[in-house]
Symmetry: C2
Subunit: 229 residues, 2 copies
DNA sequence: TTCCGAACCTGACAATTGTCATAGAATCCC
DNA sequence: GGGATTCTATGACAATTGTCAGGTTCGGAA
């Protein structure tokens, strides 16, 4: 495993690429590499973060607990994404929990390295800004989807999203396997409703399953369903 | 009306305050002041923006059209807010429409003034970044609310939000009067459902109405309702 | 003023979704 | 390997929400 940030490929995918050699060196010297097991938390809602997490491997769900005790998953973050930025930048405690849905490898970067660079390197700041602008757009899309589409449409969309963003394994199952509960927390519905709709999709030949694993059989029909046919 | 950005009080409320004297001067020289009538659009979903809009007065709804033909209002923007930033920064066409819900006065600032400053003045960039971080957090909250709360709770919350953010007039009505349709588009429900719930609130003595105008009568009960009692 | 259209309101009904209860299947841990 | 626990699944039912179809009221224009 490469342990110098300067040489880390992951950097290509995130805002760290806009850092200068010296800045990267300082980040590299202060970072701490951590292994996170599936189900463990990187941080939890309300925590004050002393730094950000750069994901080298694995996938994390970012979720928020609602008053009625249900989690809403707001985003799934994978290799190359930086978590906790929003909180560090706004100097607020985080509004989301980050929990591993697969074993993960992350680098913890103390916030000083980040805030120093933010104040000195406009390219880096702009790069972070662009990323956040993108996240904001995605959040807007989620709002519209969740309020205007039926649960069925949202589940169909979630499967397509999982395929497009995380791919499939050799047997044609979605590479990212989520529990039924996680799926229902992504689309914002009751677990039983999600299960029922998954069964229905299976009966209609849109998907096939094997245990928790789900594979897409008829992508076109799923897409039509998302559009409302 | 003050026409030099350097002297504009609005600037105190947004990221423009982080600009240097010279930068502000250049913005001021290139800006165009516009009056927008209630119902007219500042820009529409899909437009490529050549600049941003700084709101001097009035209120705009930011909304996105969904496949089924309904608008979802994602945010209400008022005095001091800058619209179109996200799109200019990400160099994408906008994902939202901005339509005046009251007569407005705005300053159009060509994107060059903004992008130049973004590249040169890290304080400004950081300030913009902080604002966007805040918007992103709010968007996350909206996602959780919309997916986990009932329509009734969301409407109660919307009224409290309107009171806290836009205040009340002398007679105790919400200062920002929205049509029933706009209200339903804020909470993401059918217009009829919104109307029905407004009637119910009125019967229960939680609010009082006069034409389109709505006044809050029992704030405590509304708050309890939002919490789920 | 009077008319017209838009906005508001209400009822009846259907569809969607959530809740509760229960049972089987898978998984984990000793 | 076996028992406990968690996850998946399904039925029955209730609650919520949307849709359609009609009204009424309001505000602006002729």
């Amino acid at each position: 495993m490469e342990s110098r940030c300067e040489n880390c490929i992951i950097r290509q995918f995130n805002s760290l690429r806009a850092m200068s050699k010296e800045e990267l060196k300082s980040v590299s010297d202060s970072k701490i590499t951590k292994s996170i097991k599936k189900g463990d938390a990187l941080f939890e809602e309300g925590d004050k973060l002393n730094g950000v997490y750069c994901v080298r491997n694995g996938i994390s769900k970012l979720s928020k607990l609602s008053a009625n005790g249900k989690d809403q998953i707001v985003k799934l973050a994978t290799k190359g994404e930086v978590l906790g930025q929003r909180s560090v930048i706004a100097e607020e405690s985080t509004n989301l929990s980050a929990i591993a849905v697969q074993d993960m490898e992350v680098c913890f970067i103390p916030k000083e390295s980040i805030t120093n660079t933010l104040q000195k390197n406009p390219n880096f700041t702009l790069e972070v800004l662009r990323h956040m602008a993108h996240d904001l757009k995605e959040a807007d899309d989620v709002i519209v989807n969740i309020s205007q589409k039926t649960v069925k449409q949202r589940i169909a969309e979630a499967f397509l999203y999982l395929k497009n963003n995380f791919g499939e394994d050799e047997e044609g199952f979605l590479a990212l396997t989520l529990s039924r509960e996680d799926i229902s927390n992504v689309v914002g519905t009751a677990t039983e409703s999600a299960i029922r709709i998954i069964s229905e999709f299976k009966k209609k030949g849109l998907i096939h399953t094997s245990g928790k694993k789900i594979g897409i059989k008829n992508e076109r029909k799923l897409m039509e369903m998302v559009e409302g046919f």
